[in-house]
Amino acid sequence: MREILLIVLPLVGALVAAAWPSDRTRPWLLPVVGGAHLGLAMWLLASPPVVSPGDWMGFDPLARAVLPVVSLLFFICALYAVAYLRIRRDRPNRVFVAMLLTVIGLLSAGHQARHLGLLWVGTEAVTLAAVPLLHFNDTPRSIEATWKYLLVGGTGIALSLLGSLCLGYASLHGGGGGDMTFVALTAQGTGLSLPWVRIAWVLLLVGYGTKMGLAPMHTWKPEAYGEAPGIVGAILAGGVTTVAFTAILRVRSVVGAAGAGAIADRTLLIIGLFSMLVAAVFLLATRNFKRMLGYSSVEHMGILSIGASLGAAGVWAALFHVWSNSLTKGALFLSAANIRRATGSASVDDVRGAAVLTPRSAALFVAGMFAVTAAPPFGPFFSELRLIRVALADGQGVAVAMILGCLLLAFFGISRVVFAIVDGRPRPSAKKGIGRLAEAPGTILPPLVFLGLSLWLGLFTPTLLQEVWSAAGLQLFPVP
């Protein structure tokens, strides 16, 4: 019952938001609903409900391992949204608030879906619900970004549906009775028709990989993250992409049971390394600090994909990385949004001296940069270290060398952009006083909390979370 509330509560909240009369008070619905959602998610994390194997929906170990951090991310972003929408009085926020709430409701559904078809319906509804969030600013550039997101994302939607149908047909052809829950598909195992399973895997990896932002299907990412408001970027990078990742994990376990696990792992490893490489190269070239966050997200999705290719231990590291990356990205997106608002541009060519204009945001941005490029003692350092150790134990020396090389290049690329905007003397055209306007407690505390959480996750990874990640690994790779 509680797990269904995770879905219903935000959707009801969205309806209330759509009917709410005042633009001024409507944003408060976000933290109210987000807080209730977070409370529920934490309660479920501490005492998970019993999921019976045949359920179509359920708070199973995998949902338990990921959904709480999505909820946490949403709540902190919701607090920031109140301050943000107060500054952005010029834009009507009815659709924006309602769709943000819809997104978290549908995300909760996607993470808990244990049925092939339902998973598709949930994740793709999220993609569509995010569209109005992207063109909140209603500038020509944001419309362009939205169109690219729709075209690329829509093709991803279509391919993952085709892949789901192929996997369904693999089951039918193998004599299955038409039960498309992941439990039933895994139980059918080698009874699934292998040629169809292989086709399904390719289509589902490309389809959900598009949504996750793996290269070469990542092209929507820099555009969308570059033009959407910071909170939207944070929720896309930390929440929406993770639902596609867990979808790939669920499909991967079926493909493994069907006897094609080795091929699946190899494709995941290759596409992951390729994503890291593409991201590293573009990070060295980009001149826009919001687009930079998009490429950084591509890099981290690559890391998740590599983790998913390394068995239960790799999934453990990947789930750890989902947590550390989501929280760190939150800090980066929100502090970048403050700088962007104060300086009026996101380009390295226009922005200088953020340390003078917006000292607190700039400090947070620099600290977030070290966190996301895996400097100790932040969360990403420990999760990536874990991943590298798993890969070495697995004998993937070449892959580890490539990962380390890409991480180094990414560090050069990201630090180049960050210090270019933080250092130096502000442009004369930068108006005095805007900085202070952008640096109210409402816009500084949320990224600070994100950064603190990232630090806490790295230094004191709770035993409860470690157990939850192990349980999720066991769900995906059952020990015979």
Partner: protein
Amino acid sequence: MAGWVGDTVNLNVLIGLAMGLNLLALGSSRIPSVIRAMSVQGVLLGIMPVLLATELDWHVAIVALATVTGKGLVIPALLRRAMRAVSIEREVEPIVGFELSLLLGAGATIGAVATARWLPVLPEHSGTLLVPGAMATVATGFILLVGRVKAITQVCGYLILENGIYLFGLLLIRSTPVLVEAGVLLDVTVGVFVIGIIVDRIQRTFDSLDTRKLTALRE
């Protein structure tokens, strides 16, 4: 049994027609003809589940009815209205030329028929063109999506791609639960509406539906 074979033949005729419409859409130089090819294809797709079913139950009837109205009438009407509202020139403007598109489409069709033979299908589907038809239609959708510059033609490409997926879905029609089917239909419909809204925004912001004007964002 004889009637069943006859139905397979009828089904294959419809799928063959749908594959012909793919080529028509690829070779059309005017947007209204692309939309017409797409809508006729939608109607054909709607008739197929009736032929495929052993007996006509309400589940099949609903799918057929929803498809004919949605793909055959409502969506094409919306597209035509969008086209009139923005009063754009009706030429398609290809990136990939018509002859090349046709060649690619024909190649994809032949390739689809050739490769589909390697894929195992259930005995009840073995005589049908469902798998090659689906593959060829998906390929056509892709060519239109990538090879055209007008937003409306790209939307048509996307919808033809979805028609291909629908053809494949017919293989599973007896095993898909209604709830999931409804969800899929809802997502697709909402998707089309969202795309429509954004097309409208593009028109208002850029004063054109030429997606080549969307080039502000790049490295």
